[in-house]
């Protein structure tokens, strides 16, 4: 939601809408608290990535091992996040759940950004009437909430872990098309691109050298924040029971399982959500720092 919100608050030419212009110092995080925030965000992301790659390094418990006598025990030294209805260690399940969430997050944002980049540049380079018509189509799709689009994709393909990854990817593409197209249209009229054309350099080479890298830069900044949006969206779909099924350790599914025993054992639902929050905040902080750097370079 936030990657899309940020993009929709810009006008059709891709410049921030009146009032969206940033007032912070340009060129990355300059103030001390901002720097500390950036360092903290990077540490959180490294830890989560570590959990995704080698979960066994972070916990000695098996995320699937049930232990009925210890069911629903509150957080303790042995079980820092407590245990669930069947006595499984919630912390271990959070650790092992990092892999699917990060994979969907990075895969969906990356895939959507790549597809949006290609389509957006094509639309941006197309003759004006074609480009305008294509953008009208994209705008119509943008009229639908992203989460609803993802739900429609799940309705078509049926529930499943792979489906929700695909659904989140497809639902995110239009925003990237819009951004890539807007940037391409501006670049088309930029002096360095026009001069390169005047020098007789073939169009394909000008596009490959001067348009694609610049547009890819701005798209990748949005995609950093998009990873967070994708993690939240996929957790939502799993929470609704449309994704992976029990006993898979997955953050959204864990929160769904915790919902039924919220009155007795808040920790089952709360800790996976806190992990999502920490991950997404870190991605936002990183994305904002990248954006400030990109804007600083552009001016």
């Amino acid at each position: 939601m936030s990657a899309r919100g940020m993009e929709l608050a810009r006008d059709s030419r891709g410049t921030p809408r009146r009032g969206m212009r940033r007032t912070q110092p340009r060129g990355g995080a300059r103030t001390l608290p901002a720097r500390m925030g950036l360092v903290l965000a990077s540490v959180v992301l490294l830890v989560i990535m570590g959990m995704a790659i080698a979960p066994a390094l972070f916990t000695g418990f098996d995320p699937l091992a049930t232990n009925l006598p210890a069911a629903l025990s509150p957080p303790s030294i042995e079980h820092p996040f407590g245990t669930d209805q069947t006595g499984r260690d919630v912390y271990a399940r959070v650790v092992y759940g990092a892999r699917s969430s990060m994979a969907i997050g990075i895969g969906a944002a990356g895939g959507a950004a790549l597809a949006g980049l290609l389509l957006g540049i094509l639309v941006g380079l197309a003759p004006r009437p074609v480009g305008t018509a294509a953008m009208r189509g994209v705008d119509v799709v943008l009229a639908f909430p992203e989460f609803l689009l993802a739900l429609v994709v799940v309705a078509i393909l049926g529930p499943g872990a792979f489906t929700i990854a695909l659904a989140v990817t497809l639902a995110a593409i239009p925003v990237y098309i819009r951004l890539a197209r807007a940037h391409t249209v501006t670049l088309r009229q930029a002096e360095h691109v026009e001069s390169a054309m005047l020098l007789g350099i073939p169009r394909a080479i000008v596009v490959a050298r001067h348009v694609v890298p610049a547009v890819a830069g701005s798209v990748s900044v949005l995609a950093t924040i998009g990873v967070g949006s994708a993690i939240i969206a996929s957790a939502g779909l799993s929470f609704l029971g449309l994704g992976p099924t029990e006993p898979t350790p997955e953050w959204g599914l864990m929160m769904s399982g915790g919902r039924n025993v919220l009155g007795q054992a808040w920790w089952i639902a709360v800790f996976p959500g806190l992990t999502v929050m920490a991950t997404v905040i870190s991605l936002s902080v990183l994305g904002r720092a990248l954006r400030r750097r990109a804007e600083g370079r552009a001016t």
Partner: protein
């Protein structure tokens, strides 16, 4: 010169109206096309999906159902058929409930309207109150952090946390139910992310407006900061937030699917979820159309509100 300008104004207004109407038609047509694609793209046989996995039906009945659904017609005839039926307000029959989709949705519209309307009010009040009250660097820093936290949390998780704190621990609100008290927590859950996003844009808009020349001239007239805020910068600074609000109202509908599940409330969100898990496609297409209608209505209201908010847009429209 003077005459042509005077004569041009109604013509421009007419052109604007035609543009808006074209936009409305385009979005609704796009939605109907999306709905058609949804029905067509489903892998597998539509009759199997309609009957469910355990049905045992004779080939004759299957053929009868196929004719009734019009599946054997060429795609363009099906497309035109769908469009004309939708124009008449006929969304077909629910596969699961075996009653008209319009009725299935219509029955659940009330609770969802209550929920989303209250959420919208809460979100607007919160966003404006925070933007107006949080003056100064420190306060804005705190608010910005809170907004980041809310926007980085899954909306259903916010609901679970609110339930834990206010229902299970403090006992202020019922865990579920139908009264107003049971509506408060779901509405807040739905409102918080919207308020946070609106608040961000509104705050940026205010800061921008305060740097405009008109702000300085108002200050130079000796007006107080409060007067400047309430009469000038707030209006001006809210245009960006208004645009975004138009999109966010639509997203409330997506949010209700999650929030109604968390709080076990009846409503369109629950119907949508049941339709998706049960692959009740006519209901899904109706939800798509509902979402498009909401978007169109909200968008028209937003368009009408711009000139009211920013007098410069009024003059622009007259001078173009």
């Amino acid at each position: 010169m003077h005459d042509t300008r005077a004569a041009g104004a109604p013509r421009r207004a007419l052109r604007r109206a035609i543009e808006l109407a074209a936009g409305v038609v385009l979005v609704l047509w796009g939605a109907a096309t999306l709905a058609f694609l949804t029905l067509r793209l489903v892998p597998g046989d539509a009759v199997d999906i309609m009957l469910g996995p355990h049905a045992q039906v004779s080939p004759e009945t299957r053929a009868a159902i196929r004719t009734e659904l019009g599946i054997d017609l060429p795609w363009y005839e099906q497309y035109v058929g769908l469009l004309s039926r939708m124009l008449r307000g006929d969304f077909g029959e629910s596969y699961q409930l075996r009653m008209p989709v319009a009725e299935v949705i219509g029955r659940q519209l009330g609770p969802t309207l209550q929920l989303t309307a209250l959420a919208l009010v809460i979100a607007l009040v919160l966003a404006f109150a925070v933007a107006v009250l949080a003056r100064g660097r420190r306060a804005r820093g705190v608010v910005a952090t809170l907004e980041l936290v809310v926007l980085s949390s899954p909306v259903f998780w916010i609901g679970l946390v609110l339930l834990t704190v206010f229902s299970f621990t403090l006992g202020w609100f019922p865990v579920s139910g139908t009264g107003f008290a049971a509506l408060v927590l779901p509405a807040f859950t739905l409102a918080l992310p919207v308020a946070a996003l609106l608040g961000q844009v509104l705050r940026d808009g205010l800061e921008e407006a305060e740097r405009q020349p008109f702000a300085m001239s108002v200050r130079a007239r000796g007006a107080s900061e409060t007067r400047l805020l309430l009469r000038h910068t707030l209006r001006h600074g809210s245009t960006g937030a208004l645009t975004l609000a138009g999109y966010l109202v639509g997203s409330l509908l997506g949010g209700t699917v999650l929030v109604e599940t968390v709080f076990a409330r009846a409503g369109v969100g629950r119907v949508t979820l049941a339709a998706i898990t049960g692959r009740d496609l006519p209901v899904v297409t109706a939800v798509i159309m509902l979402s498009a209608v909401v978007f169109v209505v909200v968008h028209l209201l937003v368009e009408l509100a711009y000139p009211l908010l920013d007098p410069r847009l009024r003059r622009q429209a007259a001078a173009q």
